[in-house]
Subunit: 235 residues, 2 copies
Amino acid sequence: MLQSNSSCSTCNLAELCLPVGLTEEEMQRLDELRMQKHSFSRGDYLYRGGDKFRALFAINRGSFKTRILHEDGREQVTGFQMGGEIIGLDAISTDMHDGEAVALESSVVCELPFQRLETLSRDIPSLQRHLHKIMSREIVRDQGIMLLLGSMRAEERVAAFLLTLSQRYAARGLSPTQFQLSMSRQDIGSYLGLKIETVSRAFSHFQDKGIIAVRARSIEITDLARLQTSVNSSC
Amino acid sequence: MLQSNSSCSTCNLAELCLPVGLTEEEMQRLDELRMQKHSFSRGDYLYRGGDKFRALFAINRGSFKTRILHEDGREQVTGFQMGGEIIGLDAISTDMHDGEAVALESSVVCELPFQRLETLSRDIPSLQRHLHKIMSREIVRDQGIMLLLGSMRAEERVAAFLLTLSQRYAARGLSPTQFQLSMSRQDIGSYLGLKIETVSRAFSHFQDKGIIAVRARSIEITDLARLQTSVNSSC
DNA sequence: CATGTTTTTTGACGCACATCAAACCCAATT
DNA sequence: AATTGGGTTTGATGTGCGTCAAAAAACATG
């Protein structure tokens, strides 16, 4: 999986490589921020408001969501990240709970000495290339979401969402047909560009058709094949 | 502006830095492809179908669009690029014309010797950092689009689209209030997640309100302030 | 200029999804 | 057990935008 240059056992985040393209001044502010806040809990943001920094983290445990804010207050969830994945390409926020553990409730961001990108890349050229791969993958995933938001209807979106979740669970050795959603309907709706009622209705409809079994946040995919066909034709 | 490591005067693309994260085999295929096709015209794709490569190009002249394809044939325009900007993070396609010149009609892709990323980064460490900036900027822009697709209504999207175009023209010393659209309504619709009729209606409506003046593909923004407010409240 | 083709605009209509509102479920608290 | 509150589901109603269709404008070609 992802090769991080440092990690700690009591923390659900490992610092992979940071920072990317920061000025000397930004470096200092980031330093200060890290000194001020060593722990974060549910509902906290790693970096608040205007303090956006480009740092990369590998997730050890727990789930995260990334989001963006519009001037007028509207927000949108731009992605969900889980163990083994990467966050930090933009503003990072976390107000989700870990379905499995309470890891996020009182976890501590690892304290690591900062290292400039140049130093890192001199030392570990392969990590540099790795970074590129990670970032381009992020772009590809975003583009998938754009297709979803741009040209899919409600039930197709929900089906696609469930399928990618299923694949991601399978990729880390967990059951692809039975899992707990770590995010609320609100977040799913925001991510898919739908209202919570529509998300809920889609779930109910799939359940009525015997494709999935929903109970609050626990999901069981009972007919994976039909879920897959639902991505292309929701009627 | 963007610092490219090579460019040519007869070509509307400059190779900036390539390739990123390709295997030896992919390198060879890219080589072959470049040997086969030296020129491209309107409607051509730089790299077709499954031949996706991660190479970066700086645009000298002309306009481009990037797009993704769904399995079932649906496509979506994921971005528009113009002179001075970067393309190549994913599949590149071009079937737009340059509003100013006929550059795209019979242009030639520069022939440059390939250089592995490692070599490049050894030689030009600043370019490496530059690459990161470019890619993260791309991600930020994509996220803007996600907000647009996820939570804006039709007229807000069109207004936002016109405003970013205006800004981009202004950024390169051209008129921010009067310009030629280099893309069709079809492409705009695909990009904004709307049907062409809806795009057209939005244009007409803005024109009726005296905010813009449309005549085919030439646009004049007559009331920039009201166009800006239209992004937040389209009614 | 006449003619055919493509792009854009405009109108009428229907549906998918948002909106509004109320009920329900579940967990935490007293 | 009763209460409170957040999250979820379900129903009724409205509307924004897609769909279908046709006219108009822009563009291309002989």
